[in-house]
């Protein structure tokens, strides 16, 4: 293993280099920074906090579900827990995760720019995010909300108790933060590329951020207006969605899913981008079918807008609409398939090493495939009638969102950690964490597929006793998972101070971001780079030859 590592010699640091971290150190210099790298770190800290809130809610939920009776918390509390969990995990953790942390940090560097196009708007987006977060936390602390993350009317607008309006306001505001980020990324990708950085030379991570941003910009405003209408209905009895005032509750669902289905691709595309980077780097091979992988991102972003009705197969929408949405849902799976197959093909004849980021990437492919394939079950009309709103759906999306996206996020953090901090994380501890997360994850969520087909509905605080065994397994897995998540939290912090010095390019990866010192200086590049090569000029044979030479 030691011989297999290809880390460059740590560079002796003669004098303290000027980096974006030590350039200025006052608190104000952080809170008022317009440097994309610092904003990325602000986001990193914030979403970690939100992940802990969402994770704490999940922990309590899993504990409650150990027994079929509701003995740990009351029904209302349980309902608030899954609402908090869903809202926080989706809008305050997973949607911002890779785009705002790694996207902010890397996008300008990857295309050879000094910053994003609108640095002040970038900072503003963080404040919007935190403002929205403040509303959400307020509504949690002052009693919570019990509508589920989907806020279906007329329950949310008329019958629910709790601070629905505060929560909706929080999401509304945070949504504008998302829009600002998306707008920034789109313009940055279009206008800030270094000379020679053509579209066909863009790293696939940039492609994925770009397509994600398109969704952010075109879908989020619909969520904003939908939640605003719901809040108005709740506050003033405006009857848009209220059947007793002549409204149609399904209109809310149409509007909500018009946003929320594309939003699931906001949650997976950046992960796919990360995996494309990791697979190539650790297999030392050019990606197989670059153009197809890039085009698949675009296809997912566009087709993703055409399938929202698959969440409404049994909602009493027209059966003909159901059929259209079903066939389109199958079609949106094709670009995902293209990606999976191309990643697999990339491994062929590579020179593969298994550092922690690669473990996460491989985990992503496996778990995303399972999650995606079960999405096909859900897209099949007759089967969805049975499994809709059961734990089958819960398992489906956790496989993609936790097994896929959270893995990709952790993989990306480990991969770019040396760039962000200038330090290496401890490899063995990190591998241990990756493996326990993988094992814990499967133990938590695999049983839920079975539970779902058995018919256990979701959002159930008490359940039929015959479901208990599988639930106990799931809770056991969740404990392992929780421990697995705490490890990186600890050792990454530790390594910031005590980790090995990493040097500019510990992975010997291609990509402009690796041509800068670690951590990078404030303006990233001394001179604007000129790009002549494609993004993945790796050569597995050269790597092998070097390795043999080192041995001899």
């Amino acid at each position: 293993m030691t011989t297999a590592t290809l880390q460059a010699e740590p560079q002796p640091v003669a004098r303290v280099a000027r980096t974006y971290l030590n350039e200025r150190t006052t608190i104000a210099s952080w809170l008022l920074t317009t440097d994309h790298k610092r904003i990325a770190l602000l986001y990193m800290v914030s979403i970690t906090l939100f992940f802990l809130i969402g994770g704490a809610a999940a922990t309590l939920m899993r504990l409650e579900l150990l027994t079929p009776q509701g003995d740990l918390v009351a029904s209302d509390t349980y309902n608030k827990l899954f609402t908090i969990h869903g809202v926080v995990m989706v809008w305050f953790f997973l949607i911002p995760s890779i785009p705002t942390v790694l996207g902010n940090f890397l996008l300008p560097m990857m295309i050879g720019a000094r910053d994003v196009a609108f640095p002040k708007i970038n900072l503003a987006s963080w404040y919007l995010f935190m403002g929205g977060g403040a509303f959400a936390v307020f509504s949690i602390l002052s009693g919570g909300v019990d509508t589920g993350w989907t806020f279906y009317t007329p329950y949310s607008s008329t019958y629910a108790n709790g601070h629905v309006i505060a929560m909706a306001t929080g999401i509304f505001i945070a949504g504008f933060g998302s829009i600002a980020t998306g707008l920034n990324f789109i313009v940055t990708t279009h206008k800030m590329r270094a000379p020679g950085m053509t579209w066909m030379k863009l790293p696939l991570f940039v492609w994925s951020l770009y397509t994600t941003s398109i969704i952010l910009v075109l879908a989020t405003p619909v969520l904003a207006i939908t939640l605003a209408l719901m809040a108005l209905e709740r506050a003033f009895g405006v009857g848009i969605f209220n059947p007793s005032l002549g409204g149609d509750p399904l209109l809310f669902q149409h509007l909500f899913w018009f946003y929320s289905h594309p939003a699931v691709y906001i949650m997976i595309l950046p992960g796919m981008g990360v995996v494309s980077e990791l697979i190539t780097c650790f297999a030392r091979k050019k990606i197989f079918g670059y153009q197809f992988v890039a085009a698949a991102s675009v296809a997912i972003a566009v087709l993703g807008f055409l399938v929202w009705g698959h969440h409404m197969f049994v909602s009493s929408q027209s059966i003909y609409a159901g059929m259209i949405f079903s066939v389109l849902s199958f079609m949106v799976a094709i670009p995902s398939a293209i990606k999976v197959f191309n990643w697999t093909a990339t491994l062929y004849k590579g020179s593969i090493s298994f550092h922690t980021p690669m473990l996460y990437a491989l985990g992503f492919i496996g778990l995303f495939t399972i999650g995606g394939l079960t999405g096909l079950f859900l897209a099949s009309l007759a089967v969805d009638v049975h499994v809709h709103d059961t734990y089958f759906v819960i398992a489906h999306f956790h496989y993609i969102m936790v097994g896929g996206m959270v893995m990709a996020y952790l993989g990306a953090l480990h991969f770019w950690w040396p760039k962000i901090t200038g330090r290496m994380y401890p490899e063995w501890l990190a591998k241990l964490a990756a493996l326990s997360i993988f094992a814990g994850f499967n133990l938590t969520f695999f049983p839920q597929f079975i539970l779902g087909y058995l018919g256990m509905p979701r959002r159930y605080h008490v359940y039929a006793p015959e479901f208990q065994v599988l639930n106990v397994l799931s809770t056991a897995g969740a404990s392992i998972l929780a421990l697995g998540y705490f490890l990186p939290l600890g050792y990454l912090l530790w390594s910031w101070k005590y980790g090995k010095i990493a040097g500019p390019n510990p992975w010997r990866a291609t990509g402009l971001e690796w041509t800068t010192p670690s951590p990078p200086p404030k303006d990233n590049f001394d001179t604007t780079p000129i790009v002549t090569e494609g993004p993945y000029e790796y050569d597995p044979r050269a790597t092998e030859a070097e390795l043999r030479a080192a041995h001899a």
């Binding site: 196009a117 708007i121 910009v217 619909v222 209408l229």
Partner: protein, 216 residues
């Protein structure tokens, strides 16, 4: 709205050309999001109108078509003036620019005042949905739905007009006092785009609200 660059070229850009193109593009992207923001309400309107065409037609007859038409004209003319203002900025004619901006803002204000009179009349006639809502039609439930949508859509639009008027006034002042846009007309360009967009939204609102049931 994309920020207004004070320094000619900010550090992240290579040159002024890149900076201007980035800002213009940012504005267009922003307008696309605005279109979908309004789009949610348009969908609600379309869905209910296809379901309850009679109720919507009858309710629509309770709106004041004269006021609506005048207001449309006011906005169209203000857009024209705005277009001239953008041109004045490009030609570095500070005085003309501030005057044209002021005219645009006044037309915007006129729009709001007229809309305000309309609102006042509708409230007094019981056309504000709520406990006091009252309308002489055969399907009051869905006539009320029309008025929910009416207040929402015109309300959100009026909010946009208000923001526009405030910004235009502020820019007029800056042009007049500091000659802030000499050789630097991008902000005025963007402001113009925003104002024209608000106009386009109204162009669609007008027939949906005022003209839905005029022929019968």
């Amino acid at each position: 709205m994309p920020e207004i660059a004070l320094a000619p070229v900010e550090h992240q850009f290579e040159n002024a050309e890149q900076q201007r193109e980035a800002a213009t593009m940012g504005m267009w992207v922003f307008l696309a999001t605005e279109a979908l923001f309004f789009g949610g309400m348009f969908l609600g309107y379309t869905a209910y109108r296809t379901y309850y065409p009679e109720a919507f037609a009858e309710a629509s007859r309770h709106t004041l078509v004269a006021f609506g038409s005048i207001n449309t004209a006011v906005l169209l003319i203000s857009s024209t003036v705005m277009a001239f203002a953008v041109r004045a900025a490009r030609m570095n004619r500070r005085g003309l620019l501030s005057i044209l901006l002021l005219v645009t803002a006044s037309l915007g204000t006129a729009f709001l005042v007229i809309k305000g009179f309309e609102y006042a009349r509708e409230i007094s006639e019981g056309l504000l949905p709520g406990p006091k809502f009252h309308i002489e039609t055969s399907d009051p439930v869905h006539a009320e739905m029309f008025f929910y949508l009416y207040w929402l859509m015109t309300g959100v639009h009026a909010l946009h007009v208000t923001i526009g008027v405030a910004l235009i006034g502020f820019f007029a002042l800056r042009a007049w006092l500091f000659d802030a846009f000499r050789d630097h007309d991008t902000p005025i360009d963007l402001l113009g785009l925003y104002w024209h967009f608000v106009d386009v939204v109204w162009v669609f609102l007008f027939p949906l609200i005022y003209l839905a049931g005029r022929h019968s």
